[in-house]
Symmetry: C2
């Protein structure tokens, strides 16, 4: 087994997103046990101009969905950001896992120097596949998963590092 663009992306996303499902299930159970309105956690921000918890999840899964698709040279499907409950967020993560799982190694491998153009309004940035994955997608993915975890820990949800990183 040698490291490849596929190995560095798809199985990593699937592994961490499955861990995230477990984190979301623990958060939902915590809210129910402590009689906390789940919306308080779902709308919580660590600072007024940071993303709320739900948005952290939506951006994390989109990093995996869009990153994988773009490495494969495929246009990622647009998904509406309308989740307002833990079951809806869990469903969103599971749908993302199912989407990412559709990609085969041969679609992603060899994408190191594939040109990936990201349009933002009038401007566009062009990346090569390897820099796109290692310097954009992966740090962004982990940023939002970790911040979601931090929001829950800050609010007293009993989670440990193993819930984030897996076994």
């Amino acid at each position: 087994m040698s490291i490849s663009m596929y190995q560095s992306s798809v199985p990593v996303f699937i592994r961490m997103l499955n861990n995230l499902v477990g984190v979301l299930e623990k958060a939902a159970a915590h809210a129910e046990a402590k009689k906390i309105d789940p919306a308080v956690l779902i709308n919580f921000r660590l600072y007024p101009d940071m993303f709320a918890f739900a948005k952290q999840i939506q951006v994390a899964v989109d990093a995996a969905k869009n990153g994988t698709a773009r490495l494969a040279g495929v246009e990622p499907p647009e998904v509406e950001n309308n989740e307002k409950t833990f079951p809806e967020l869990i469903e969103r993560v599971k749908k993302t896992i199912a989407y990412v799982e559709t990609f085969k190694p041969e679609q992603i491998d060899g994408s190191e120097e594939r040109e990936i153009v990201l349009k933002r309004g009038e401007t566009s940035n062009t990346y090569l596949g390897q820099a796109f994955l290692l310097n954009r997608v992966i740090p962004n993915f982990y940023f939002h998963i970790t911040t979601a975890y931090d929001i829950l820990r800050h609010n007293g949800v009993e989670l440990g590092k193993k819930d984030y990183i897996g076994r």
Copy 2:
């Protein structure tokens, strides 16, 4: 250029740790400008049983230092966790960058199936290099850098995503 164990580790650590130096410099400047005791930020925890800010930095840099050394089959040097100020934390990050920079691609490349044994007290875990890097070192590294960033943002330090992820 094809993706390799070296490309997936050393340049990623160096890039993110250089970004972290910038984040720490902004935090130090913020404390000075707002007349906040820097120790308040350095000892801040998002929850009583989470690591304080200084420890987040120490664990993040050790993930890079120890991860790189172990992939290369080298015993990582022990470093004392005694930083109590922003200049000391910045120095610790810079020393880690200098250490990680000493590794050459040929020391890390081909480590996909190298056995890495982590001892914790009486028990030990054995990983293969690729799973060690992708499933342990990298998610751990990003976890602690992100949580450090989240602590500063939660305390009003003016940082943006670009400070974390770079340009």
